[in-house]
Subunit: 559 residues, 2 copies
């Protein structure tokens, strides 16, 4: 298969996941064969007001749809599979994934009514898949905070391109799924042309602790708690969930599962055999009340303080089924994702106010470990693969940068290390690599059902409106006799509380009238200039009076 | 002075600073004598859209203005003095502070044109001030991230109330200002009725390192840097600034100061003798270009990634005077305040992209230490003071809670520990303490020149507007013949980008028309119901089509 056709080139680029955490999507192309690795979503930045989620711009893929041989998934996290429902609508190609990953994907596609038309191909660590005439993908098991995670090795006529997926090296994995060091070493021995590796924890020295270390802490808290134990963690962290179940079993407690995504994942993972749940271990939330408090564990969502999540509602005493009682133990087995610190902090405060004993990572570091490898593990991966070219991926620029320094440290030539932006193409031909321009890439913002219909203008307006609100000025003019027939009426939303600012608004009114009279007396009467002048005069006045700049919307009509 | 008048009571409460970080303001009242400790501001929570700063509601103080004997300041940080310009406008009472604190306050009052009418009284560690007929305040030196910080001991007829201010125990302070352990011990020996102590780092085990440890790291980075060194830190951290100067001197570099607040503080602190700056050490930003890069240090603001700050503008290459050049070293000598993580991260990324070597706390923990004591220091303070009653202050609830646990650990009776909300009064009479209801307390939001004129309704509108924007619907009706004379015209701001949504807006138009026609044919023609019906019909339609709920503002007029 790997006969070299010399005019063809190997292209590697990211449509998402570099210079950012989230919406991972990487592309490997040789000649007419394109393979896509992952298809994730990202949660909006704080300046993307009103946006629900963000996905990559896939123009390049839709423009080359006939070349795209498939999407290979490394694992089932939202930032790797969450974009699929949107991408597959425009690009109907086969999706490759391991059992749990496909299980989670199918659940998504069902909700999006795409399950029927999507070809899903199950892979395992021993699969070999042919992608077009020139590409072949094989896989290697990794450790991550979700089972069934893999890395991908894509053989191309130029050589092997390895994508690690998200990984850590957990030498005592919860589910016995060991990282396949042997296969990684073997790939390294065969020779790796380019390595794309996870930079998430490139700033963290040392080794990330084993997931098992969390289980010990959990069981200890379960044992000493006299009352109910509530555990909030990421729904997708099946290992963590397994350890909650194990700790419950070891301490004679039953587990109830609360929160849509948690119920979802527990269902899928246990159906597919990724969770071992003893018979009778799970109980319905309704039964919690009937049981003695020291026999209950409540497993729920909300570890990020998400406003609508189960834990947040419990903390606010607005949950239909479960209240937090004084003396309950609440374990938030996660660290806040950057940007969520304040929400998580507020939830912790509310839980303490209810009299709960709250365990959280800032005060109890042992209750969470990362799913991403730290510096020593990143070096281990580099030394197993011994790549010629290295692309640090999956991280903010500073993490990629630090990962690049680690790579230099283990002996990769600096000129063979490429930190790329989204869309930036690394072209490899006859063993030489170079930066070769950019393909279309960017953010597609999803707001409700709208995909990409919210652009910079709309966001700028939302930003303005959020700062100082809006004033709508309504006037009816008669241009004949140059008089104001009705109005000006000024309606304020988000600017000032009218009842407390009548004086200000009356004065504003006078200013609009006088401006209009002046203009009409000067026979200025094109709508455009009337509006601009009203806007300017009113804006100036309000800024002087309040130092605020509300959006001003003049509506001038003629009778 | 301390003759006991038995019908009088001692009241202790916070108007700000408990259940929150910021706007510290504590009140101690005995009979007709009120003393206020600190008068700070807080930066707005993320749901306070468009708000500039937040100060405490001081209704209780203005209603009892004749009793307020003065405001005692513990140190010169914004969250302890930033509210003064607003408070003093409504409450003209004497302000007591140490030299540097008053220096910073005077600068503030000048800007607010309040310097003239405000009585400012300089105190030092040996001052004894009489506050009314029953209260007396003395002080003890502490260590904090700004010089001249003190704790306050207020003698009352019921006993001594001690307020620690913000503190750590730094056994090797930069400026030789040692915490006055002897005086603290002496106060403890005389007996402390109630201790109010800083809870900021109550979650942190161990001891907070000495500020001096940062100086060593700075000098090391200065020495190995071949080019310019940029240091961003809190302008108020005079110790840190001194260490930058010292490191510059030790490595033969000159220092230029950039950023309004940094220039301010360096000026005030050196005028008052809190900064030792060798002659010729400071240079103008304009001179930087003329000097060899390895001879320059740029000291600037922006350690929090504040959008308009010096460092942020340098990172975006939009600073008038200084560019970051490849190979420059940038030290961000601070940790992000919760909520600023993303801004700081972005600044770091931009600096790396410019080719700078960036040192920041996540990757280089040694470049910053906290100004607040950790658990062992909090216990040390508790054991020095040996109070009967304990009130953990200055922290979010979870920090107060943990501080309370520490207090129990050193032997304070649990029933003598009071975690209070703002306004909640602890009343002490004849040696007994109890919760005694609440005084008015809350947030006063400042937006531009408006103080308290932005309330929940305005904030709720801003929130709505920020999520899905606004649609203004303008129609002119003739009620006689029940027809639409002009419109409906629909104007969208922050909802959808009109050019890409003509179809949607046309359909919206039709829905408004048909709704109005239907109503008028049924002779429904009160404005109120016409507007409500248009709002509902349009809202329903838009939600079905877009899953968004823009604010809808119907403007219906009659000819």
């Amino acid at each position: 298969m790997s006969k070299k056709t010399n005019n063809d080139k190997l292209m590697i680029f990211a449509l998402g996941g570099v210079g950012e955490i989230g919406k991972n999507m990487y592309v490997v192309q040789y000649g007419n064969d394109i393979v896509v690795v992952d298809s994730g979503l990202k949660f909006p930045e704080e300046d993307m007001l009103g946006i629900d989620i963000v996905i990559p711009d896939i123009s390049y893929l839709t423009e080359n749809r006939d070349k795209v041989r498939g999407i290979v998934l490394t694992h089932g996290h939202e930032d790797h599979i969450g974009g699929l429902p949107y991408v597959l609508k425009h690009l109907n190609v086969p999706v490759y994934g391991t059992k749990l990953t496909l299980g989670l994907v199918e659940n998504k596609l069902k909700e999006a009514n795409l399950l029927g038309e999507t070809k899903r191909i199950l892979i395992n660590a021993d699969s070999e898949i042919k992608l077009g005439s020139t590409l072949k993908a094989t896989f290697f098991r990794t450790n991550h905070s979700i089972p069934d995670s893999v890395g991908v090795c894509i053989d191309t006529p130029e050589g092997a391109v390895v994508h690690t997926g998200d990984f850590k090296f957990d030498h005592t994995p919860v589910n016995g799924q060991y990282a396949d060091l042997q296969r990684m070493a073997e790939i390294g021995t065969r020779g790796v042309l380019a390595l794309l590796s996870d930079s998430t924890n490139a700033e963290k020295p040392g080794f990330t602790p084993s997931e098992k270390s969390v289980g010990i802490v959990l069981e200890d808290i379960f044992r000493k708690s006299r009352q109910r134990v509530v555990v909030a963690t990421f729904a997708s962290n099946v290992h963590r969930i397994q350890q909650v179940i194990n700790a419950a079993e070891a301490t004679g407690r039953k587990v109830t599962v609360i929160g849509r995504s948690m119920v979802n994942v527990v269902g899928i993972a246990s159906d597919l055999g990724y969770l071992e749940i003893p018979d009778g271990m799970l109980i319905e939330p309704e039964e919690v009340g009937k049981m003695s408090a020291d026999r209950v564990v409540i497993l729920c969502t909300g570890s990020q303080g998400e406003p609508m999540s189960a834990l947040t509602r419990m903390a606010r005493s607005t949950h239909r089924k479960v209240d937090i009682l004084p003396g309950d133990s609440v374990i938030i087995a996660a660290t806040p994702v950057p940007g969520n610190e304040k929400y998580v902090g507020r939830t912790i405060d509310e839980l303490f106010r209810l009299g709960a004993n709250v365990y959280y990572s800032a005060a109890n570091p042992g209750i969470h470990v990362s799913g991403h490898g730290s510096q020593e593990e990143l070096k281990l991966m580099l030394n197993l693969m011994k790549p010629k070219f290295f692309l640090p991926i999956h991280g903010e620029f500073r993490m990629q940068r630090r990962h690049a320094l680690l790579a230099e440290g283990v002996g990769i030539e600096p000129e063979n290390i490429f930190i790329t932006d989204i869309g930036e193409v690394i072209e490899i031909q006859n063993g030489g690599a170079r930066r070769a321009g950019k393909v279309t890439a960017g953010n597609v913002l999803i707001d409700g059902l709208g995909v990409g219909d919210v652009g910079n203008i709309v966001l700028r307006d939302r930003k303005l409106l959020s700062q100082d609100g809006i004033l709508v000025v309504v006037v009816t003019l008669s241009k004949q006799d140059g008089t104001i027939k009705s109005g000006p009426d000024i309606i304020s939303r988000g600017f000032v509380y009218v009842r407390e600012s009548e004086g200000l608004l009356d004065e504003a009114n006078r200013i609009v009238s006088s401006t209009l009279h002046k203009l009409m007396s000067e026979n200025v009467n094109e709508w455009a200039s009337l509006k601009t002048n009203v806007k300017d005069a009113l804006g100036r006045f309000l800024y002087e009076q309040t130092r605020r700049r509300p959006m001003i919307l003049p509506i001038i009509m003629e009778v």
